[in-house]
Point group: C2
Chain length 436, copies 2
């Protein structure tokens, strides 16, 4: 196994040589074998151990075991301790998910603070097949079947090509000690159920199961690559960026062989889950939209418009402008200047009578019930009606800033329309307000 791992590292991970490596070690079989292999191969390793306090005294003994191992190998060891169950309850996560998040977060923190090049974990081929089956039980797509990546950012998994059996065999042959985690034997946990009840049947059916599976993963990864090529190429025709949002041309989406399948690929990174709803949006009324945890997808005439949800959260925010402020730069650029005459009209600036303004002025987003007195029209108009007439999409409405006076009267729908009440009626006390 020493020779095999040495070859694998040379061929698959040649970049590890001479680098500072942080090994995530539980004290269990896999991570202890990984540590001893890399120590023997004279890599520059440091250990990092999390005590999750999930198994009482046993957890503490794991931590001591890892420290002793570090001493024996004369390598440095970082360790930490978490009240995992308490934290999991607070975050309403399962213990296993909470432990996973705590672990990776801490490893990355140590790695950044102490300038490690890579974090190494001891995942092996059995883990990979277990994850495949876990995803199968939950319902998944191709992405759930392409396996644990051997390289993911700065996390490297050098043992992915080894079976649990190979690792165990190496440990026994070399009189390596490790800490047995009794909870691994319990079938209470999902992964253990699959490990103890399903994997043995699959390996009985095909003694070379893991080799076949490795080939299967390679095939599925190749399929994913072809899909990614197709999506990259198609997106050139389908969508474009504009004003910080992404617009998808509905007419082009409908020309595709399977619009729902493509919508999934275009939008999967944005946390949408119900792709039937996304698909139905193609034929929905303009103005309908779907929310994910992070994004909003809006049907707007011939487009689907994707934008971040935080845009809509800023609608409550007010920005005050005190008298004699020459300019503001947040949330947008506005310049205020006293002038003696007006230039030709321009969407980017307005002229107002200084006398008519009550300070502090306010910059804010629109809200329901807003109205104004459009310059050049008789009487007042609801902002919602004005936006509709101007055919603003939901996103554009959310992005639109208003300049109001201290009484919350709208002075300017910035860049669009001035209010009649603030118009210049004499040649003195003229203020030019310009955006950007």
């Amino acid at each position: 196994m020493l020779e095999k791992i040495s070859n694998i590292i040379s061929n698959t991970f040649p970049f590890l040589k001479e680098k500072r490596l942080l090994i995530a070690i539980s004290g269990g079989l896999d991570s202890v074998v990984l540590t001893r292999l890399l120590s023997t191969l004279k890599f520059d390793i440091t250990l990092a151990h999390c005590n999750f306090n999930l198994r009482g005294i046993e957890s503490n003994l794991d931590a001591i075991f890892v420290e002793e191992l570090a001493k024996e190998l004369a390598v440095k060891c970082f360790s930490t301790s978490f009240k995992t169950e308490k934290l999991a309850k607070e975050k309403k996560e399962s213990t296993q998910i909470a432990a996973r998040n705590l672990r990776y977060h801490w490893f990355q923190e140590i790695s950044a603070r102490h300038h490690f090049d890579y974090i190494l974990t001891a995942h092996h081929a059995d883990d990979n097949l277990e994850t495949f089956l876990i995803n199968l039980t939950r319902g998944t797509g191709l992405a759930g079947f392409t396996g644990i990546p051997p390289v993911h950012g700065n996390v490297i998994r050098p043992l992915l090509q080894f079976s649990r059996e190979e690792i165990l065999h190496f440990a026994k042959e070399n009189n390596i000690c490790w800490r047995e985690d009794q909870s691994n034997a319990s079938t209470k946990y999902l992964r253990n159920k699959i490990r103890h009840k399903i994997l043995p049947v699959l390996k009985d059916i095909n003694p070379n199961m893991l080799a076949s599976f490795s080939k299967t993963l390679e095939n599925l990864q190749e399929s994913a690559q072809i899909i990614s090529d197709r999506i990259e190429e198609t997106s050139l025709k389908i969508c474009f960026e504009e004003n910080g949002v992404t617009k998808f041309k509905i007419s082009e989406i409908l020309k595709l062989s399977n619009p729902k399948a493509y919508l999934f690929q275009f939008l999967k990174a944005y946390h949408f889950s119900e792709f039937k709803d996304v698909y139905n949006l193609l034929s929905a009324q303009s103005g309908k939209h779907i929310l994910s945890s992070t994004h909003v997808l809006l049907k707007d005439r011939e487009f689907l418009i994707l934008s971040e949800r935080k845009l809509s959260n800023s609608s409550d925010t007010l920005f005050q402008i005190l008298e004699d402020t020459p300019k503001i730069t947040n949330p947008i650029h506005l310049n205020f200047e006293e002038v003696t005459e007006q230039s030709a009209p321009d969407k980017k600036s307005i002229y107002v009578s200084k006398k008519s303004l009550k300070f502090p002025l306010i910059v804010r987003k629109w809200k329901n019930g807003d109205y104004f007195y459009p310059l050049g029209m008789q009487g007042k108009k609801k902002l919602s009606k004005y936006f509709k007439d101007e055919k603003l999409s939901l996103i554009e409405k959310q992005n639109q800033w208003l300049l109001c006076d201290a009484n919350d009267a709208i002075i300017w729908i910035i860049g669009m329309r001035k209010d009649n009440r603030f118009d210049v009626r004499s040649n003195t006390g003229i203020i030019e307000i310009s955006s950007q």
Copy 2:
């Protein structure tokens, strides 16, 4: 269940209405329930039962049971009987594969002979998951994970959305009798191992396993659709048909993100299995080739050339042409005509001196050691050397016909070069031989 199947048929298989349906029935739970459902819904059904004689008297009792059911429902029933084990041994197939082939072949035969519109089988959701797992144990790719198709040619599977449990529940609730196949309980067979040892664990982990799995299959089918779009589009740039072979431009293949992945997609229908070898062919010497059971893939300078293997098998065949034959049409078209003068030279015809010909003439493929006396050259030349100089590919060489005389002397490399020995040397006895 009656209502659900009625809805499924209306929505998914509306074309079944008023059609002549042949139900493949074993006498087991699934096919008996399918038969009774469709009978109740007043479809035009006929039964077809195969006796595989694998379970002695039990097999005969199955056949009797199906005949009784047909009588009860007042529908026609076809039945047949196979010596399955004997046939399997002869064909060196497993009993299960042999039974499967016999069954589908016979159903199609009955269907064609008696003008049925569709053949119906009773595959259900559990079968689908079992097949997925069987493919997983063998090693597979995306195609092995997209499920049993509900419609495949004239074979329809209306129960694919039902679980085995639902079907059993319906049978018990409606006092339906069926024949229990004892071999289904044995875990000797691969499928039964998966059915009895793995499916229960998966269903224990996720009680809605089959619903999740159905969504998984839909996702994977959509992925397969996108790949198929990409391959169709890419192949426009990569390959073209010429002279009955397909040529792939190596330079274009090498521009793709993952040439091996694309080669698999381009060539998977032609029974190649070792795609690393196929990939290596891209950089191999011109003339190297790989054989599948049906096709040959040849590296020829800047192309990979795909052709059917049967081309090379015809190299032993000789076609005789007797004296005074005006024309032949097999294996190629050749016309023989006495003329009084020669027209301008033309690759499609030659003029020979009748006197010089020894009948019967022969049309054949080239063989090692062939030589001729090229018109316009001094002396003789090996055909292999001539072909090399003319840059013929292996496939083109295999496709090339020669016209020889009774002594096997080459008269004409048809469409390419005439032999000096048969040239016209007087104005009488000229024969024009033309290959249209």
